[in-house]
Subunit: 461 residues, 2 copies
């Protein structure tokens, strides 16, 4: 036993019985103490280890309670015959993308207002009554739901009182909850934009809704294609189509809602980055036109930081109970301190301040990216998307192979999204570089590097 166990009195933080327990448990787990092995009597082991018998008795009792040892009156203590853990191979660590400069959905992380966020959290921790830390309304903290209703009404034209705002863990959870609620209500086929955001298409499919692609042009989703589809739900990005960058045209807004009414279909409005509009005021949310037909989904990922994982839904009255239930049975509600911090942050006007500060920066970055592309890669054509968001689309000339280009870029540690990643149906080749999280000089350098990549990919053909 001395070979298996080494106790020390110099480890002030771990009592002797705990050391013995831990080491015996590890010996059983690793197989060094095999099933059926009879352990020394407590008196004998205590003498061997020069500890009091109570230490051994306690360790044996503990490991017996945990199922590692078996104690039978008269037969002493043996190692239990319980299943042994298979020693699993350690999987490789999560792959970390090398160069994030072009990530299309990441905002300027360096400008995240850490000071203001900390100030709001400090206020929350100072003022929150103790009971505010307990189990709470799964739909969200009333303070945040109120602050969001006011913000969304003002900034996005969303028509929704606090009683119909549901706080989610990012926009993606909002889409998941909405899809599950629609599935439970009988929906089976959801119309999605093609090209569109692949992750949310996967979320819908995972929730049991079959994605049915709808073509997209420069004015957003082609509503004339809806009638021919046997769809009973719709997922759409009206303010800034992801990825092509169009705004859903006025006439199409009306057509889309007429289709939804005629088919009793609900519309999920993915309003992921509408606040970032550089040439005019952002176009208001579709939800404002038909609050009982549209489930509005937004989040803090593009306006503050994706790592916050804070999102929200504005929910039609008829779906409220179903959505609340989905949230409850998914996670019992989102983190309270973070919710209350955002509420304080919104009510102090910090988000408006932050957007005023970042908007000219994004506009300059977008201009720099487009200028660099025109300079370095003149045969690539910038897509017709509006001056908005955190990414642009560059369409490739027919001589350039998208897959080969992306493969060469990946080899050089550059992560770039191709248009094909967004597509269901094949279409023209293109790339979707983001400009949110890279400075103007970095973008210029990255585009120069991309031009080298394009030449290398071309030479390799």
């Amino acid at each position: 036993m001395e070979l298996l166990v080494a106790l020390t009195r110099e480890n002030g933080r771990e009592p002797l019985h705990a050391q013995l327990e831990r080491q015996l448990r590890e010996a059983v787990r690793s197989g060094r103490l095999a099933s059926g092995t009879r352990l020394p009597a407590t008196r004998v082991l205590a003498a061997e280890l020069a500890v009091s018998r109570g230490v051994v008795v306690e360790a044996y009792a503990q490991l017996t309670a945990e199922g590692y040892l078996v104690t039978r009156r008269g037969a002493g203590t043996t190692v239990a015959a319980a299943p042994r853990p298979a020693r699993a191979p350690t999987p490789p660590p999560h792959p970390r993308p090398v160069a994030e400069d072009f990530h299309p959905g990441t905002p300027d992380l360096a400008s995240f207002p850490r000071g203001a966020w900390l100030r709001s959290l400090r206020t929350v921790l100072r003022e929150l009554p103790d009971d505010g830390l307990g189990y709470a309304d799964p739909a969200g903290a009333p303070q945040l739901r109120g602050a969001l209703a006011r913000y969304l009404g003002r900034a996005r034209g969303v028509a929704c009182g606090p009683e119909r705002v549901l706080v989610t863990s990012g926009l993606t959870q909002g889409v998941a909850l909405a899809c599950r609620a629609l599935h439970a209500r009988g929906a089976r086929r959801i119309a999605v934009e093609d090209p569109g955001f692949t992750v949310h298409r996967a979320v819908a499919a995972h929730c049991g809704l079959q994605p049915v692609p709808v073509p997209v042009d420069v004015h957003g989703l082609r509503t004339d294609a809806l009638a021919a589809l046997d769809a009973d739900a719709l997922l759409v990005t009206p303010a800034h189509q992801m990825p092509l960058g169009g705004v859903l045209a006025p006439q199409r807004r009306a057509e889309l809602l007429a289709w939804a009414d005629a088919h009793d279909a609900y519309v999920i409005e993915d309003d992921y980055d509408a606040e970032h509009r550089y040439d005019r005021e952002p176009v208001g949310a579709l939800q404002g036109l038909a609050p009982e037909r549209v489930i509005y989904a937004g989040c803090a990922s593009k306006v503050l930081a994706p790592g916050l994982r804070l999102g929200w839904l504005a929910v039609p009255q008829a779906l409220w109970a179903a959505l609340e239930r989905e949230k409850t049975l998914d996670d019992l509600g989102s983190p309270l301190l973070e919710q209350l911090t955002l509420a304080d942050f919104l009510e102090r006007g910090e988000l408006d301040r932050h957007l005023r500060r970042t908007r000219p920066r994004y506009r300059a970055r977008r201009d720099a990216l487009i200028a660099a592309l025109a300079r370095e890669l003149p045969s690539w054509r910038i897509g017709a998307g509006i001056a908005a968001g955190l990414h642009v689309v560059a369409l490739l000339p027919e001589t350039v192979d998208e897959a080969a280009l992306l493969a060469t870029a990946a080899e050089r540690g550059m992560r770039l999204h191709g248009l094909s990643w967004f597509r269901v149906t094949p279409g023209p080749a293109g790339v979707v570089p983001g400009f949110g999280n890279a400075s103007e000089p970095t973008l210029a350098r990255a585009v120069a590097q991309l031009a080298q990549v394009a030449r290398a990919a071309d030479a390799a053909r």
Copy 2:
């Protein structure tokens, strides 16, 4: 139009065109401007309102883009025929329980270490590189996964490296993700404790697994009943059965795992409050005996505060990819700042410090509750559960009707959980008062009030 619109130059924060837009949008929404109404020409309205024509042009353009107005060359601007929002009735506010004194799952919220938590967050915000605020590994921040692997190994005997720790939004999301992954793998019937935690039974059912009740006694789940069930998964609370309070006996641990092996069934171990043991060291997790058979689920709700919504899974190797996918498609990961704050908090030993400080307090509260029940309600019998957790079970004499008792308690603003809330199959009547979040004098008062309630309920019969 002047009746519909009132512009002011004194509102320095909202430009005139934005005021006009907002008021016209509201007029369309409310129906004051009906579909088809023709609006005045921009020149005419500008003169009427004494603003420049550009203000009106901009407001009309914005509302046309949003779909509220239709502009046709030659025909002027009219109100669109889009669906009007039904004015939904405001639902009543979320009911707030009146007296939470007896809530069985709430820890001492007053002792939440706000200062230490804020210190950890401040450290995180100071040291986190900017890129740390972006989209991250959906399985969780590496820092927290490492800290949890060390904590769980040390405090709970969980055998799991960081690469198999998955961070969740509370324990409930962990159960939901596990149930979805098992369902996708073909599981259809999940054995659950009866009585057991009703919320997680509902979560399992919602994820497509039919709950199959297994009886429970003072030694935990009755493993002899497993063989007769056609179940292919199991949800269990081995360290402290919820609600009856037994520890799963050593022999049953082995039997349970043998059953799981024989049926290729996975076991979800709900380890919700194991850290709170008052008479001896907590019994180690079942997962330690069979890490490839048990999905371990824990959380910060009982050791810190439910409002944090932080939980974790230790996942068998064979299920890792499925669980990671479930998390990704549910919410893309849990909030990063909160994760990193908990990691720092754990690594500083703050959780151990907090548990050392709260354990004697809970023990004293438990003693006070049991003493008060014995004094005020001597015919009620305290259940045989171990000295642990945040609640006790009191079994009612046959003359007391549980439903009538609870109804009378509710009338007096006292929220009390009855045993029947936890049951699938009817059984002996009882109540499950919690002691975590109430001081000793409060508990004594609450029990005195409960005795009055019992007399009133008895008199009403």
